[in-house]
Amino acid sequence: MTEPNRPDWMLKVEGLGKIHGAPDRRSLHDTGPEHGTSKSRLTGSVVAAWNVSFEVAAGEALGVIGESGSGKSTVMRCIAGDQPATAGSVRLARVGDGATEILDLEPAARRRLRVDELAVVYQDPAEGLDLRVTAGGNVAERLTAAGWRHFGDIRSRASELLSRTEVPLERMDDLVATYSGGMRQRVQLAKALANRPPIVLLDEPTTGLDASVAAGVLDLIRNLLEELGLAAVVVSHDFRVIEMLTTRCIVMHHGRVVESGLTDQLLEDPHHPYSQRLVAAARS
């Protein structure tokens, strides 16, 4: 049952764009897949991403596939607020019933969204965690930011989350700096989920991890996405990750979206020449 004013998406992105350098529209004319570059020879600006649009519903995971330089991480960072966007619109269903333009909010307001509306899991756990703080402390940071003040409750919730992300509880009071890469990612997941955000952005969540460690983390992410009914955006160059975690995806190349579709359809029946090359390379 949806309330009368609530949209049926949790996250809606329309025409999102990011230009590094002068935001000169002429840069759009000599950049993109047909031109084989994101950098405009005319203006010197880099069109990192342009005209990216998608919606994600609750309980759904959308993949953003591309090689490095495709703009996929740029898109994620613009939505997260780590980078200012040049153009476009981002709306969250729970903020102003989906009518508030997130990109127009003050940095302080956008930071507040990161407490319990929008969580981010970074490729490098050091970006999402304070390595000099314990695993429990990292989770406590999110909880206290949301106003938790009862030590027992904080500890209890942190234990619950860390245990759910399969971090051994006897290591909860160890500094994250002493953890392996895979364990750090699990702590990052626990921290991201601390305040039950409805939307999670995951940027290359298992890249850089050993294969068997990555498999475990991927399993965990998939289970969490299913159980918690999150709306997720998964950014990756790795098709196995996209295949395991997402139902729909978009393909980016030189900053533009070249194709979008159901994940299985994209993997078995890619249409755009670039998508076909990517899939063929992944299959070999």
């Binding site: 302080a108 930071r111 304070d130 703080v133 314990t134 429990g136 402390g137 990292n138 406590a140 940071e141 999110r142 206290t144 930011a145 003040r149 009862h150 030590f151 027992g152 409750d153 904080i154 500890r155 009071d173």
Partner: protein, 295 residues
């Protein structure tokens, strides 16, 4: 002004006494600036207001901030008490008191009831203070978040957005590591529900005195160039978890060897054999002792 003028003990004058007057240490312009800073601080309780800290004839880190605050608010009709670790007779307290009285003509006392301004490096006097008292505290490090963040801009942002999450994490880590929150001096407190302050230099013992106090408390940090304030009747709540009560220092069974008190802040001092406990507030202890007829 020479060193001899400022530190008469170092080079005795022919009469062996101390100079009874010095030229003012702050000009009117400086006083006005510092008063404006103080007014801003009082208007925004707990907010660290930057100010142009002047060169004072005390070294940085020895109370130059507190001194400037006192000099800005004192008048010839005021009576000034200066303590260091609760003791009026410490070398530092004596020097500061002389500087103030000699350069402003104010009176001096060791008794809070007779004073109007109390400058302190480490304690709030045990006596009940009145609404016309001003307590001026000498602060070495005014930034309560210094242990958790180094970047100046980030610190400014954290205070501006009341984003004290990192402070809470450090309290969490402290409790996890040590079973209790161990910070002794400089315990972080929330003022008027808005800004977190460092309560250096006072011990935990004195923190409850700040909450809804009838008197004004001013904090001066000369080296760091900041002044902040707790106006009268303002909430001051030590940061702690709702299930971890804020505790003050207490040694069970300890009483003052001089006056017998068990309800004042006691410090351990060396004695003929080992050590003993005595009141930190030496003047309070002395008066109590006198009232009891001991000598």
């Amino acid at each position: 002004m020479t060193l001899a003028d400022v530190l008469p003990e170092a080079s005795p004058t022919p009469s062996g006494g101390v100079p009874t007057s010095l030229p003012p240490l702050l000009d009117e312009h400086a006083k006005r600036e510092i008063r404006r800073t103080i007014l801003t601080a009082v208007a925004v309780p707990g907010y660290q207001v930057p100010f142009g800290s002047r060169e004072m004839p005390v070294a940085r880190g020895w109370g130059s901030g507190g001194l400037q605050v006192t000099l800005a608010v004192v008048g010839s009709g005021d009576t000034v008490k200066v303590i260091d670790q609760g003791d009026d007779a410490g070398v530092n307290a004596v020097n500061l008191r002389r500087l103030i009285t000699a350069s402003t003509g104010a009176n001096e006392s060791t008794v809070p009831e007779e004073s109007t301004i109390i400058q302190s490096r480490h304690r709030i006097p045990e006596d009940e203070l009145r609404s016309d008292h001003i307590v001026v505290l000498q602060v070495p490090v005014p930034e309560p978040l210094r242990g958790v963040e180094r970047d100046q801009r980030e610190l400014a942002r954290m205070h501006a957005e009341a984003d004290y999450a990192k402070m809470w994490v450090s309290l969490y880590e402290d409790k996890v590591r040590n079973g209790v929150i161990t910070q002794t001096t400089g315990y972080p407190c929330l003022v008027d529900g808005r800004y977190v302050i460092a309560t250096t230099p006072i011990p935990r013992w004195d923190i409850p005195r700040l909450h809804q106090a009838p008197f004004l408390t001013l904090f001066g940090a000369g080296r760091e160039k900041r002044i902040y304030a707790v106006p009268p009747h303002t909430d001051v709540e030590p940061l702690t978890f709702t299930d971890v009560p804020f505790e003050v220092e207490r040694t069970p069974g300890a009483t003052c060897a001089t006056c017998g008190s068990d309800r004042s802040f006691l410090v351990e001092v060396p004695a003929a054999t080992g050590s003993r406990w005595v009141c930190s507030d030496s003047d309070w202890c002395r008066r109590r002792q006198k009232a009891q007829g001991h000598d």
